[in-house]
Amino acid sequence: MSVIVRVGEADFDVGAECRALASHSRQSGAIVQFVGLMRDSNQGDDVLTMELEHYPGMTERCITEIVNRAQQRWPLFAVTVIHRVGVLQPQDQIVFVGVSAAHRQDAFQSCEFIMDYLKTEAPFWKKECTLNGEQRWVDARQTDQQARKRWQD
């Protein structure tokens, strides 16, 4: 099982990440990849830029722990999680979660599981700068909490 967790300012190359995920086993039959992008508006306001703050050290620990839990639930060959920090523009890539498994159900479920926990546990915070100059911290969404709770039933 190969686990890669990267947190930093650098962008990522989805094609290269997919090839890397596929390379870990000749029994890999299913790769599921999630890419989160910055949207150009939120709550009715145009958003010009976004700044992502995190808790260095804890973010990597937290994501690695989430990936470990996913491994215990599903048979996986490889997992890659990349999360960007710093200043981002609309349509920039923010987050990548890629999973390789023998069968697609395991790949879909584990990828969604990792995203649901990342959204609710990993210490990242978004601050938006809107078109009218307002700077505001993005509020956590109740729907993300609900999405995570599904996995605990």
Partner: protein
């Protein structure tokens, strides 16, 4: 000595990212998250708001912690609002 970190909105509200507390500031022989919160809340209304907020999260040595979690000399404690990454 313990280190206390604040992130995101809390860092801005309190105007500080990091404070250090010694045995002179707080009893570190039987400290918990709850005791640290109570001590910091005495610094003023803003501090009280941040530390009393129901959804304030706390990590001790980079692991999620509850009010009962013990804190010892050398620990790193962080307070932060609900996360919004991904």
């Amino acid at each position: 000595m313990i280190t206390v970190l604040f992130f995101a909105k809390y860092r801005e509200l309190l105007g500080t990212a990091k404070i250090s507390l010694s045995g002179a500031d707080i009893d570190l022989t039987k400290c918990t998250v709850a005791a640290l919160k109570a001590s910091l809340a005495e610094r003023g209304a803003l501090w009280c708001d941040v530390l009393a907020a129901e959804n304030t999260l706390c990590a001790v040595n980079q692991d999620l912690a509850g009010d009962d979690t013990p804190i010892s000399v050398g620990d790193e404690v962080a307070f932060y609002p609900p996360v919004t990454g991904g």
